[in-house]
Amino acid sequence: MIRRGLLLTLEIAVPVLLLAGYAVWAARAQSFYFPPLGTIQERFAQLWLFERVPDDLLPSLRRLGIGYVLCVLLGVGAGLLLGVSRVVQQAVQPLAEFLRALPAVALIPFGVLVFGFGDSMRIFIIVVGAVWPILLNTIDGVRGVDPGMLEMARAYQVGRWGRIRGIVVPAALPRVVAGMRTSLSIAIILMVVSEMVAGRDGVGYFVLESQRRFAISDMWTGIILLGIVGYLANFLFVQAERRLLRWHRESKGLAR
């Protein structure tokens, strides 16, 4: 209990100290690139509470949301197919490995050609780059399903579809969720990058645009906002995971 309290204190104290350090240092340094903390704070409140939220934050979140949901649907769907069928896997694996090795941002010019400068291009980039951890982890998860469970189901006349839904999917879920978590951070990165290319709105666009206007404090507010978005997304994800995979954590004897 004492240890836990100490850890929690550290968790809060370290960022606070860093911020305080920055505030003291920036106030003295008078650096153009590192505006005083107070200025950044002020601009943050003016910009993001909540004037530009509908203009920049919501479009970003929409792209991220749609792109990520598509990643999950595609990754889990294709992963199940590839994991269950040896033949399909053999046929598609080299292609998948190639595409995975390809940096998604290299496809931005192609995306612009095909989809123009709209949301579709940005969503395309998110999907192309962030689907892989989900896909590959799903395949692994499906492969790792205990044959004993499947045999039990077969002995009790549970059909192929019933075995997939009732055993393969839940048994692979811990791996799938691990892939989804990696995928989420990649999706956020690609959201920002895609908005920096010929964008009209979005937090990524805002950061780049502020830099071009030499509005350095504004630029920093955008960066901080992205950090907050990433932190919150991960936090929500972990909370959902804890509920969904309680059985997995506890059956493996991990901390509750």
Binding site: P147, G148, M149, E151, M152, R154, Q157, G166, W247, S251
Partner: protein
């Protein structure tokens, strides 16, 4: 028995071989036996003799290379609807994301049985195996012996006419094993379900069965059938004290020693090249 009743399970010249590098290895070679309705039959044999392969053929999980299995007159080509199955690996047959009662009803849900009826069947089956209080636990919160009782409850809730069990008590401690044997005998007596029970434990086979079928070493054939006339209900202590029990277990043991132990396999049973993992039993 004056005249033998029609068999519920008929195994005729069943053989199973697997492809291996440079040929095939035979696991089961021409096994034939019948099981009467309500009978409790144990299959014993030296370890690695192909007992599990044989049982998986009976269950319709493996297609035999030759011969046939008939259940209630119909050839078994896939797992039949009236069959319950309990395997050795209780922990692997439990679904860790489902609570005990849902594990029990898992096959029923896919059989299209309504939620209310499923709950009734699960409650009844868990009561029979003495796990009513643990219905809302996860299987991994239970001991190995309790998990195996859940597996038995799952088989019971399925309302099978025949129960196939593959060394179900092999991985629990001796004390628990005795309790599970008695539980199984109770269930068997109550429901009259025909049971085929694979084990490598000679005492267990004699204690449980009406008839012990002794299999030879790999590739397995029926070496001998021993009818067990011990009175029921059986008791871990008084049954095992009977001279008849001792005589029967000696008989089974001697048969196994002859077919699986010391001497070389007879020429027609000689292991083919590549099947070097033949049981080396004492």
């Amino acid at each position: 028995m004056s005249s033998s009743p029609p068999a519920v399970l008929e195994v005729a010249s069943l053989a199973k071989s697997y492809p291996v590098r440079g040929g095939r290895t035979e696991a089961v070679a021409g096994v034939s036996f019948d099981v009467a309705p309500g009978e409790f039959v144990c299959l014993v044999g030296p370890s690695g003799c192909g007992k599990t392969t044989l049982l998986r053929c009976l269950a319709g999980l493996l297609a035999p290379s030759a011969g046939e299995v008939r259940l209630a007159g119909a050839p078994v080509r896939r797992p039949p609807p009236q069959m319950g199955f309990v395997s050795q690996d209780y922990s692997n047959s439990m679904l860790p994301w489902l609570k005990v009662d849902k594990n029990v009803t898992f096959p029923l849900r896919h059989k299209g049985i309504g939620a209310r009826r499923r709950a009734e069947l699960a409650a009844e089956a868990l009561r029979v195996v003495g796990l009513s209080e643990f219905a809302r636990h996860y299987p991994w919160q239970l001991s190995g012996g309790m998990q195996q009782r859940v597996a038995i409850a799952r088989a019971l809730a399925y309302q099978p006419e025949i129960l196939l069990m593959d060394e179900p008590f092999a991985s629990v401690d001796a004390q628990t094993r005795g309790e599970l044997e008695d539980l199984l005998l109770d269930v068997w007596a109550t429901y009259g379900v025909t049971t085929v029970f694979v084990t490598h434990d000679i005492d267990e086979s004699v204690y449980l069965a009406d008839r012990v079928i002794v299999l030879s070493r790999r590739p397995s054939t029926v070496a001998r059938q021993v009818t067990v006339g011990l009175p029921r209900p059986r008791d871990q202590i008084s049954t095992k004290e009977l001279p008849e029990f001792t005589r029967l277990r000696t008989e089974v043991m001697r048969t196994i020693a002859q077919v699986g132990g010391g001497g070389p396999a007879s020429s027609e049973h000689r292991a083919p090249p590549g099947s070097s993992r033949v049981a080396a039993s004492p």
